[in-house]
């Protein structure tokens, strides 16, 4: 009863909006799907998702389709939330070593990665086609204190808010790749010293003179802004944890591929981990690590690190991890809701639930099967990609 009244109200509303606005945003969309992977409320078989005004209005087995709604018949298909690539560098340059690492100075905390983003680049289209709807656009790992990553949606066609966060944190790198022959630091110990020095100076910062670098680092030191720390090998992860402990940082470990060896320590500190891509060419030994980490209680989100690695298809990481010990549900969560929570956008993204953005991916099979392919991608209720049949 209540439903009906609500629906009629919607019909009136939507029809009035039809006159007021142009384009299909005002059109209510009803997607019938064979399987809906909500991520928060389990899997719904033969259900419907109602999309209105870019948001998920309702989802369920018997969610009622309002009159005038455009129906997308995806029965037999799988729908999941748009995937979130927790760390990548797409849309930055034609050259892989181009715009993501500004290596002229070891400390580049005031640089904003978004300034270099080209949303029309080829690799952005590639990511979309693979089902990724939101990314954390990040600097690389070649600066001990790098720039500011951003969280953006991959649909910039209309003037919606595709930038979810311009400054999502500050990037740090404790990997050996941040060492350079002819620029400080040249050694690991020098690297650690430099990072600590910057944090110490930020702590002591009084804020009188205009210093954007110190200012943003002060926010990190005050735990207002997360630190995204690149640390892959165990010794790098150990260094990261030591610094996090010392400065009481709000932090996320990036590319902590060997984290399973110290998973208990990571879990104890509630440190989430953005996991590096798993490739078909990865060693068995390495494919098992993600599962081990998750089983020790570490929250994982997958990242493609594209175009630094060949992986633009984020799903492959989840599929391989699931094959080698990560349980399926966690694998899916690590593509969606986990990333949303880590990046602080879980109020809007990461699952198919009422009130969240209508960022959806439609596949012709189980998302964790390599053979399944992405057929359609929606962002804010708009079809931004549709697979053409040959």
């Amino acid at each position: 009863m209540k439903n009906r009244r609500f629906l009629s109200f919607l019909v009136i509303l939507s029809s009035s909006f039809c006159l007021a606005s142009s384009g299909s945003e005002s059109q209510v969309l009803a997607i019938r799907a064979g399987k809906i992977w909500t991520l928060t409320d389990g899997v719904i078989t033969n259900g419907v998702i109602i999309v209105n005004n870019g948001k998920i209005q309702a989802v369920g087995e018997d969610a009622e389709v309002p009159e005038g709604a455009k129906v997308l018949d995806m029965s037999g298909k799988n729908v999941m939330p748009g995937m979130i690539d927790a760390h990548c560098h797409i849309g930055l340059s034609l050259d892989i070593l181009g715009e993501m690492d500004e290596t002229v100075a070891a400390v580049a905390a005031d640089m904003q990665i978004l300034d270099a983003f080209n949303p029309h680049a080829d690799d952005v289209r590639k990511a979309l086609r693979s089902g990724v709807t939101t990314i954390m656009l990040a600097p690389g790992y070649r600066n001990p204190v790098g720039g500011q990553p951003a969280v953006v949606k991959l649909d910039t066609s209309k003037a919606n808010e595709w930038v979810l966060k311009r400054t999502a944190g500050v990037e740090f790198s404790l990997m050996n790749q941040a060492l350079m022959f002819d620029r400080e630091p040249t050694s690991r110990a020098g690297l650690i010293e430099l990072v600590k020095e910057e944090l110490d100076q930020a702590k002591a910062e009084k804020g009188d003179a205009f210093n954007p670098r110190r200012e943003v680092l002060k926010r990190v030191v005050d735990a207002n802004l997360p630190a995204y720390i690149w640390a892959h090998n165990v010794d790098e992860i150990a260094s990261a944890m030591a610094i996090i402990d010392e400065y009481n940082l709000n932090a996320v470990l990036v590319a902590a591929g060997q984290g399973d060896e110290v998973a208990d320590m990571i879990a104890k500190r509630n440190l989430p981990v953005i996991y590096p891509p798993l490739l078909l060419s990865s060693k068995d030994k390495d494919l098992k690590r993600a599962g081990r980490m998750a089983n020790s209680g570490v929250k994982l989100a997958f990242a493609s690190l594209a175009p630094k690695t060949d992986l633009c298809d984020l799903r492959t990481s989840a599929i391989l991890a699931a094959k080698y010990g990560l349980d399926k549900e966690t694998a899916l969560r690590s593509l969606t809701i986990n990333a949303a929570e880590i990046l602080g956008v879980a109020d809007r993204l990461g699952s198919i639930s009422e009130g969240k953005d209508a960022d959806l991916v439609i596949l012709n099979g189980d998302p964790l099967q390599l053979a399944s392919s992405v057929e359609m991608v929606l962002i804010n209720g708009n079809i931004v990609y549709q697979r053409q049949e040959e």
């Binding site: 630091p185 050694s187 690991r188 110990a189 165990v234 010794d235 150990a238």
Partner: protein, 409 residues
């Protein structure tokens, strides 16, 4: 009534399975135990509990539930101590952006997964001194570690164990003296000569003294040097040739420093003086012939019996691998030192208790005594025999290496 029986049974069962955790005791029986701190023990027993040696001698009672390692006719000695080891570190061993880097802590760069660590354990080495590289005049702070642990913090026995100073010409390698061109990298810097090296050293100590006397804001680099001046941090100086050793002694006299000499290839020329001043010496790597070895421009007059001559004069001598990953077998170093004239007992001490004393960790390692760490090496025969194999290595009471039965293939 029955309920009491059930309860009692239950309690008994619980007590059996949840017995108060007494740490497991290990007993090692061996035909010959070289304690290094005293006379060798024949047919002795070492009791280990909680990673420490709790008792050692003959006729010791072995607790019933102890794990027994029967080493039969094998020879047991303390885990070896390498006072100048190949660094288990990834990346550059020096911060190249400056010549004087006292705050550089090599412990920040330790890599527990280093292959060097895994290999060195198989040679019987259980304690290592890792120091910054040789490219800087004042390289920074070294650390004493054991080849164990998942993260660096678990490896460390003593951090900030010594300050490394290199007075050989190594630090001039790669320095491009700016002459006519504008510097494009920080390698365009001095020093290029030994005069400059010594000058930089003097200046650094001088500045440290000045800072200590003044009210200025503390420069952390100078703070470390101040601590070294006050003898709070031991100083290791790398010096090969006699003239460099002499220069080191001069700077030491000027600033009242207590030194430990590393490498000391021509130390035999001044054995008496070194003994008089009580300067301990860490030798290594070993060179058979003089000349310009490697990229260093200095020639050295070598004496194969450097260790023997120094030890006989009364100098405390440690035999180390000298940071060469190919020379990790310090048992062989000791064997050859004896071949060339060093006293047997001195040679054994030179790879155990002497380096432990030099590094300031002799309270924990270097000999088999009650209360020390259970770092034990079991050998197939006399340690100073080239056909002797390392059969087993125990570190902190746990077996970390065991030779695979039969020959290795």
């Amino acid at each position: 009534m029955r309920i009491y029986v059930i309860l009692l049974t239950f309690l008994l069962l619980v007590s059996v399975f949840v017995a108060p955790g007494r740490a497991e005791v290990t007993a090692i029986k061996a035909g010959k135990i070289l304690t290094i701190s005293g006379e060798p023990i024949t047919d002795g027993i070492i009791l280990v509990e909680d990673g420490k040696i709790v008792d050692i001698g003959t006729g010791i009672e072995i607790p019933e539930d102890a794990v027994v390692i029967d080493a039969g006719k094998s020879v047991v000695m303390p885990g070896l101590v390498d006072a100048s080891a190949a660094a288990p570190v990834r990346g550059d061993l020096n911060e190249q952006s400056s010549e004087i880097t006292p705050t550089f802590r090599i412990s920040d760069a330790l890599d527990p997964q280093s292959k060097a660590l895994k290999r060195v354990v198989q040679m019987g080495v259980t304690t290592l001194f890792v120091s910054p590289g040789r490219q800087n005049v004042i390289g920074g702070l070294g650390v004493v570690v054991k080849p164990t642990g998942k993260i660096p913090q678990q490896m460390i026995v003593k951090d900030e164990a010594a300050l490394r100073i290199v007075m050989d010409l190594d630090s001039t390698e790669g320095n491009r003296i700016p002459r006519y061109q504008a510097p494009t990298t920080f390698y365009y810097r001095r020093p290029g000569t030994r005069m400059a090296i010594i000058w930089m050293l003097r200046k650094s100590f001088f500045d440290a003294q000045q800072q200590a006397d003044s009210e200025q804001a503390e420069d952390p680099n100078l703070a470390i040097l101040s601590a070294a001046l006050k003898d709070e941090i031991p100083i290791h100086v790398n010096a090969r040739r006699a003239i460099v050793i002499r220069a080191a002694l001069k700077v030491a006299d000027e600033y009242g420093l207590k030194l430990i000499l590393q490498e000391c290839t021509e130390g035999y020329k001044m054995a008496g003086q070194l003994a008089e001043r009580k300067i301990p010496v860490v030798l290594g790597p070993f060179y058979y012939y003089p000349g310009n070895i490697g990229q260093y421009r200095e020639g050295r007059k070598v004496n194969w019996n450097n260790a023997g001559i120094l030890a006989e004069a009364g100098v405390k001598v440690a035999l180390a691998s000298g940071g060469q990953s190919g020379a990790i077998d310090i048992l062989t170093a000791a064997t050859f030192a004896v071949r060339h004239g060093m006293d047997r007992d001195e040679a054994l001490k030179a790879i155990t208790i002497t380096p432990a004393e030099i590094l300031g960790v002799a309270d924990r390692v270097g000999s088999l005594e009650k209360g020390k760490d259970a770092d034990i090496v079991i050998l197939s025969g006399d340690p100073l025999n080239v056909t002797t194999r390392v059969e087993k290595v125990i570190l902190n009471g746990k077996t970390v290496y065991q030779q695979t039965s039969g020959e290795t293939s």
